[in-house]
């Protein structure tokens, strides 16, 4: 499952024709305690760059964009009761939604893990 990263600190992990999207460990650290996640409706068609979810911390609110186009086939319901899961397991159990990709080619040009680490090093 190759994982890509965006400049907006989202990750997208490809699993065959589908992909899972979440926010990076760095992003959750910047936001602080996550208090609420607004997830997309199942079946919604997202275009690359559309707002897929909204994540709220005590002091900030931020959009999570679809890093690729596709149909929402699953959302992480566990975040409803436990938004802190994003803080604890940002790049794993704290995933946001799963897309059936309509154009996997869109993923080209996104960063891989080492390029993303280099970006973070440059920010710090």
């Amino acid at each position: 499952m190759p994982t890509h990263y965006t400049k907006e600190h989202e990750w997208i992990s490809v699993d065959g024709a589908e992909a899972v999207i979440g926010i990076s460990g760095y992003a959750q650290e910047q936001l602080g305690d996550i208090v609420f996640v607004e997830l997309p409706e199942l079946g919604k068609q997202l275009k690359k760059g559309d707002i897929g979810a909204v994540v709220e911390s005590v002091k900030a609110a931020s959009e999570v964009y679809a890093a690729a186009s596709g149909e929402v086939v699953a959302v992480n319901d566990a975040l409803g009761d436990d938004p802190g899961l994003v803080n604890r397991e940002a790049e794993d159990g704290g995933w946001f939604f799963r897309l059936r990709l309509s154009d996997p080619g869109e993923l080209e040009g996104l960063m891989d893990a080492s390029a993303y680490r280099a970006l973070l090093a440059a920010i710090e």
């Binding site: 305690d33 208090v35 609420f36 005590v58 802190g84």
Partner: protein, 525 residues
């Protein structure tokens, strides 16, 4: 939604753990107070009303069937309840309240007295206008003062707060663009990154795309950058002047000229008018619209979050679009125009609220203006600026300023560089001020400055108060640098409450009290 059991979190009456060594949990003058619903009882009332002799009901099938279970308090219980609550609040009447951009200045009690005169407080907005000539006169007199003070030819009095006034001004601009046939093309609003959050919120509400203007290294707006961004797609520039960094925009006239040349309007956020009232008229630096926060500049009390009032002064070109109601002169007599059908040549943008506006706040503001006069207003502004600079100079060597040590207007902006390596954050530093008996300054605003601390002492503070305030902040800065940070992290320790868990509040919102069910001990909402 799951709601936590309130009884677990109740620290009051039935908590068996002693607090601070006392049985009650009280500490001297600080007395813990349960919720109204825990003090009162559902069949109690503190208002004696005679039971009416029944006549036939005209409620039809609409009479209340759902029981109304709401606690009432006897009068002594009510007084104690609210007096005890009040003592858990900080207030401008208690000490320095240096909230930058919020202007916590002295609230004259004369204003409270005159606003309660029956001729102002006990008149109905819809009683015949022939019975309220004094109300119209008061509106006219206040309007005349505000227009003269700002150097502007027109005003809309009705907006109910600063943000409401901002919406009004931006709608007037929108209405003007519609009448020019340019509303479809002019869809962008320019606003500096340091703008108040209301500016982009207002622009976005009206469907505008907001484009940020970066600040120069010295914290002000570069007219060259504005020129670059201007074009036939720009509707308005929204600028605060003096700006949110506490600086007067030195190129404001050049910026206004460029905006007008490009066919756009200049909306000025008047939140900081208190630095220049009586000294500089915004009309003289080229604004088209500006709201005036009566609760800031003209000292109507903040009341823990309102009520305010936000009259908007307008240029000649925007005047015809002012909302209903407005006053028009007809044959030397003022007429209150309430309906579009009576607007004659004007093209009001609509109506922003029921009735006429915040009479109670207008009376207070006019009392403030009459008391100060042209001379006192000028002196107040000067002293506000003097006090801010006095604080700046007193702290310049121990705190850090993002744009260097330069003269400021009514507020002085620090960043958190002076706390580098100390482990103390802006928040910790502010919370430590609480233990010293001060309300903290505005923190983390403007957003363009890291760990911002925005201090606005206002003209109400005496030199002795300022000296004490400066000495306290110097001591705190020295302690923060010396370490350890623990005491700052734990602050405040002497306030009615320690730091509150905002994460829990937002994750599992409990926005109301609910009665405990009689049968089940563990309730769920």
């Amino acid at each position: 939604m799951l709601v936590t059991d309130h009884s677990d979190a109740t620290a009051s009456v039935d908590d068996s753990k002693p607090d601070g060594g006392t049985f009650t949990g009280n500490r001297g003058l600080h007395i813990e107070e349960p919720l109204l619903f825990e003090v009162g009882q559902v069949d109690s009332t503190g208002v004696d009303l005679p039971e009416p002799e029944p006549t036939g009901s005209r409620l039809g099938a609409h009479a209340r069937r759902t029981p109304l279970e709401l606690a009432g308090l006897s009068e002594p219980e009510a007084l104690r309840h609210y007096v005890r609550l009040s003592k858990q609040n900080y207030a401008i009447d208690m000490g320095v309240y240096p909230l930058g951009s919020c202007t916590m200045k002295h609230n004259p009690r004369l204003s409270e007295k005159v606003a309660r005169l029956p001729g102002f407080a006990d008149i109905h907005p819809l009683q015949p206008l022939s019975t309220v000539p004094g109300a119209i006169e008061l509106m006219q007199e206040l309007a005349a003062w505000l227009m003269a003070m700002t150097g502007m030819p027109a005003i809309a009095l009705s907006p109910k707060a600063g943000a409401h006034g901002e919406l009004c001004g931006m709608m007037a601009i929108r209405a003007a663009l519609i009448s020019r046939g340019e509303d479809v093309t002019r869809t962008t609003v320019l606003a500096p990154e340091s703008a108040h959050g209301t500016n982009p919120a207002t622009a976005a509400f009206l469907g505008y795309k907001v484009e940020a203007i970066p600040a120069r290294d010295n914290g002000t707006v570069d007219p060259a950058v504005v020129r670059e961004k201007l074009g036939p797609h720009v509707a308005t520039i929204m600028l605060t002047n003096p700006n949110t960094c506490g600086l007067f925009e030195p190129d404001i006239v050049e910026i206004a000229d460029a905006v007008h040349e490009a066919g756009a309007y200049f909306y000025c956020d008047g939140a900081n008018l208190n630095a220049i009232l009586g000294k500089v008229r915004p009309g003289d630096f080229g604004i088209d619209a500006m709201h005036i926060n009566l609760h800031k500049t003209l000292a109507t009390p903040h009341g823990g979050g309102g009520p305010g009032a936000g009259p908007v002064v307008l240029s000649e070109s925007l005047a015809p679009f002012a909302p209903l109601p407005f006053i028009r002169q007809e044959g030397g007599k003022p007429i209150l125009v309430e309906a579009e059908s009576d607007a004659v040549d004007d093209k009001p943008l609509g109506r922003l609220g029921a009735f006429h506006g915040q009479m109670g706040m207008w009376v207070r503001a006019l009392a403030y203006l009459l008391s100060h006069g042209a001379d006192g207003a000028r002196e107040a502004s000067e002293n506000a600026v003097l006090n801010a600079n006095y604080v700046r100079v007193g702290l310049a060597d121990v705190m850090s300023q993002p744009f260097g040590d330069r003269i400021c207007m009514h507020e002085v902006l620090f960043d958190d560089a002076f706390l580098d390596g100390s482990g103390v954050s802006t928040l910790d530093f502010a919370k430590a001020m609480i233990d010293e008996g001060y309300h903290p300054m505005t923190m983390y605003f403007p957003l363009v400055v890291h760990g911002a601390l925005l201090v606005e002492p206002t003209e109400s503070e005496s030199r002795a108060e300022l000296d004490q305030f400066i000495a306290t902040l110097r001591d705190l800065a020295a302690r923060a640098k010396a370490g350890p940070a623990d005491a700052f992290k734990a602050a405040p320790t002497t306030a009615p409450r320690r730091r509150l868990d905002e994460t829990q509040a937002a994750r599992r919102p409990v926005l109301r009290w609910r009665p405990k069910p009689a049968t089940e001990p563990n309730n769920e909402a």
